[in-house]
Symmetry: C2
Subunit: 193 residues, 2 copies
DNA sequence: TTTCGAACATTTTCGTCTTTCATTCTAATT
DNA sequence: AATTAGAATGAAAGACGAAAATGTTCGAAA
């Protein structure tokens, strides 16, 4: 990594921790500069604006999240298990990555073009990932799915819906139990046979 | 109905149509009074505050919604069919009743105590209704459900999640198709058998 | 090339005044 | 007495300009 990239990285880490605590609006460039022990104008040597820094931080967190999910999934073959691990890993790290979580949830940020783009882009990526898992399951003749598009949308929507409620109400252990039940519902449906 | 209740009703209808167009904040008591051809202080003879009027309007709409749903469900016996009709009816009328829809969705209203109460109360009622349908299905040995509580939560969350997306993207016919698929997913799951 | 102090530009904050609006009062009308 | 509404009240929301804070740029220095 080049010298300049190392410095950018350092500034980004500082910015990340401050943004995590105070959010985009309540942190000033000066704070970041002070914390990083540089003059505030130096920041502009590396980033073109405050929004740009925030964007970089969120993208960094997004990259981390994707890596964590990929790492968790890479040596799992069973598509049922894969879905479960995907959901669990997603929930776990999304909560840790405060800035991306905020960018995805906070209503005050939705007017920023890059946040909107981030949301739809990331939605799409997740849909694609879910679709791939489903397709693999179909290919292996484990799943029988009529409309993969709709099914993955429903899975993602449900995930986003229960995520908030569960992560405030339950501990990690209970969440896993709920996810198991949710997956059981998804796999088997509710009809008696 | 007493004279005073008739007048209240009339004022409420006027208020409903104005609130529907402009929302709680952008409509003034004066507007309602003018539209109803009464002096604005007369309104206070019937309602104790602006919030009180809005509350009454929302409750009126809620009552309408419940009636519509009950009417639609009353002579359906099959629990599968019942779920479908519930979902369709709910979607259809919720969109027509602008004020309750706003009260349930609009972030600016969530600070009002009665809106919060309305939301949680109505959530509970819907959960209860869904549970009842599920219980009936279990009783008739059509459904096999491990955790009825979680299942009904998941159904409601999914409903609320797809509702917005679908109602902007699809027409009534396509929505019905999607709901059919959604129900198929719910009933049969995705596992091949 | 990199840094930073100072200058500049833009936004936010604050105080003041004015206007609007919800609510109350009071007297008139039914 | 029940009902209505004009006028009064007070609190909140806007309009506006000055001052302060903050984001961004520039040019000189390390």
């Amino acid at each position: 990594m080049s010298k300049i990239e190392e410095k950018k990285e350092r500034l980004l880490n500082v910015a990340q921790s401050i943004f995590s605590r105070f959010g985009l609006f309540k942190t000033t460039i000066d704070e970041i500069a002070k914390a990083a022990r540089v003059g505030k104008s130096s920041i502009y040597y590396y980033f073109k604006s405050k929004e740009d820094i925030f964007k970089a931080v969120v993208e960094k967190e997004l990259k981390t999240l994707k890596e964590k999910i990929n790492q968790a999934l890479v040596n799992i073959d069973n598509p049922q298990e894969k879905l479960k691990v995907f959901i669990l890993t997603r929930m776990k790290y999304l909560r840790e990555l405060a800035n991306i979580y905020n960018a995805l949830q906070n209503d005050y940020l939705e007017h920023y073009a890059f946040v909107q783009k981030l949301r739809t882009d990331y939605d799409n990526e997740e849909i694609i990932l879910i679709k791939e898992i489903l397709q693999k399951g179909i290919q292996e003749e484990r799943f029988a799915i009529d409309d993969v598009e709709l099914t993955s949308t429903v899975i993602l929507v449900t995930l986003k819906g229960v995520e908030f409620e569960w992560s405030t109400k339950f501990n990690e252990n209970e969440i896993e139990k709920n996810i198991d039940k949710l997956l059981d519902l998804l796999f088997n449906g509710i009809l008696r046979r």
